[in-house]
């Protein structure tokens, strides 16, 4: 049954200033949260679920999430990847109880219904009854009772799924600019899995989406990035909202530890600070364009390329006031040992103890505390002006404004 939000929720009115204001009730309201799940995660969007190198063999599977729904990503006998809801077609029990593994088929532990790797129902125990009694009705058709199988797109080793059988294609969903940046990383070179980091951050999931649409904070909060020239306001950069503000592209460059006039204005630039082991902040040049790129692919993932670390930051909402952030770090199968060494070293920037990401976890937790009980107030996002056009610098909140323009349209707020 669809529910009318208007009928159940106190009137939610967006501030008259429009997209330069973000009311705090969007971070706490359970009905808004439920509508976000159905509109964005279970709607016509594409969700990141896995890298194909995580399921290398036929029958290899891993569990993943789309919103609060668990799915199983599995490689079929023919090598094709399937994404299935992890719930039995019979009574809804979770079918797969391990995070990773390899199987010939899936059998529900409850009544042992058996499903093929592509989700087809293969067997129902006691289907014909016992001693002529019981069993399924004669017209019970296995073909009508398979696992819910999602639409799948594999882009150069990254696996995406959508609940909408006839929604837009992946390229169309991304839009040409973002799609080109996705292909810059996932161009078809086989991938190599390096491992995971998982955090539970006590903030609304959109705060993380915004964090990666906020280059302004990165130039101020993250002293480590600033000091060692990995992300600074005085470098050549771009902040580009795409697909009507749904996704975002942030581009910067690694410039090294240099003191400039602007650096003097950035309080957290630590001119005297140095590392004994500069490898931690010294990348090998990997991409011909020399860029450092962060992509927000709404709603489920942020793709990072910073120094020599590559990662997928999977956003998994767990209620209005917390979300899981699952980081998958990877490289390419043909990386040299030296490049792999640097990828692992540079990953010290990220994850729950990351020189950079730790601070984001802290600030987001504190921001949620500042949102709770303040639904009647609104955040101000006017840095870099009040419009939603692309900007060639990072002292701006344009990506956040553009995102809320999109969000309001889709949510009807």
């Amino acid at each position: 049954m669809g529910r009318s939000i208007e009928a159940e929720v106190p009137v939610r009115t967006w501030p008259a200033e429009g997209w330069t204001r973000v009311p705090y009730w969007i971070y706490t309201d359970p009905d808004i949260y439920a509508r976000e799940l159905s509109t964005f995660f279970y709607g016509d969007g594409w969700n990141y679920v896995a890298l194909d190198c995580e399921v290398p063999e036929p029958g290899s599977y891993k569990r993943s999430w789309i919103g609060e729904r668990q799915v199983v990503v599995v490689r079929g006998k023919d090598g094709a990847i399937h994404v299935l809801e992890n719930r039995c077609a019979h009574r809804g029990a979770r079918l797969c109880w391990q995070n990773k593994g390899r199987v010939d088929s899936f059998t529900c532990p409850y009544h042992q219904w058996n499903f093929a790797l592509d989700g087809r129902l293969q067997g129902v125990p006691l289907k014909r009854g016992v001693l002529g009694k019981g069993g399924m009705p004669p017209d019970f058709d296995n073909a009508q009772h398979g696992l819910n199988r999602l639409r799948v797109h594999v882009e150069g080793g990254s696996v995406w799924a959508s609940f909408a059988p006839d929604g837009p294609g992946f390229a169309e969903y991304c839009g040409p600019d973002l799609h080109a940046y996705v292909k810059r990383i996932f161009g078809g070179r086989p991938l190599k899995l390096l491992g995971y980091s998982r955090q539970l951050i006590p903030s609304n999931w959109k705060m993380y989406v915004e964090n990666l649409k906020d280059p302004y904070h990165a130039t101020l909060l993250h002293a480590f990035l600033i000091t060692f020239g990995l992300w600074r306001a005085d470098t050549q950069s771009e902040s580009v909202p795409v697909a009507g503000g749904k996704h975002g592209i942030m581009v910067s460059r690694n410039v090294g530890k240099t003191a400039t006039d602007a650096a003097g204005e950035i309080k957290r630039f630590k001119g005297q600070l140095d590392l004994e082991d500069r490898d931690t902040v010294t990348p090998i040049r990997e991409f011909d364009d020399g860029k450092v790129v962060g992509l927000t692919i709404f709603p489920s993932v942020v793709m990072h390329q910073q120094a020599n670390t590559l990662g997928m930051r999977h956003i998994i909402p767990k209620g209005p006031d917390r979300f899981e952030l699952s980081w998958t770090y990877y490289g390419y199968a043909d990386d040299s040992p030296e490049l792999t060494r640097l990828r692992l070293r540079h990953a010290n920037l990220y994850g729950p103890a990351g020189y950079v990401a730790m601070e984001d976890g802290e600030v987001l937790s504190e921001s949620q505390l500042g949102a709770t009980e303040y639904g009647h107030r609104a955040a101000v996002v006017e840095m870099g002006g009040r419009d939603v056009e692309p900007q060639d610098h990072m002292v701006t909140e344009v990506l956040i404004r553009a995102f809320y323009k999109f969000y309001r349209e889709r949510m009807g707020l």
């Binding site: 539970l200 010290n348 103890a353 020189y355």
Partner: protein
Amino acid sequence: MSDPTADATRPAAPTPEVRALALEVRELYEEIADLLDDDQVERMPAYFTDDCVYKLISKENHDEGLPQATILCDGIRMLRDRIVALRETQVYEPRAWRHFVSGVRVLSVSDDEIRARGNFLVTEAMSDAEPQVLLVGRYLDRLVRRDGRLVFRERLAVYDNYRVVRSVIVPV
């Protein structure tokens, strides 16, 4: 190098030598836990060799043989850098940590090194809230003797938590 099979290694037979060593190892573990609880992380590198490896790594990665660590310090310089960066650059809500160490066992003794392990539980308390469990796991260590005292050649802090709540600020 890390060795996933170390988890399954059985403790060494309790000869008098191993018993004496176990006492010494336990004392070392307690000493480090105490200095971390006392906000003296700067003293930690003195317990490591120059070519040390320190890793805080999830059980998930460790069991699967995946190299990604939550904190990776490859060499004493990286360990010292981690501490300088923590003190000089990092922004976090202040809190108090307590380490609880148990089950310290010597696994093997050779001319070259001692392998040992022990459980850890670390609680975290914000200044306006009750303590919560931050991490639970197991140290997997390789120790060597330098100038008569035991120091770490490798310390893997392998945590059982599937997820870390919020952040890990300081090495455990």
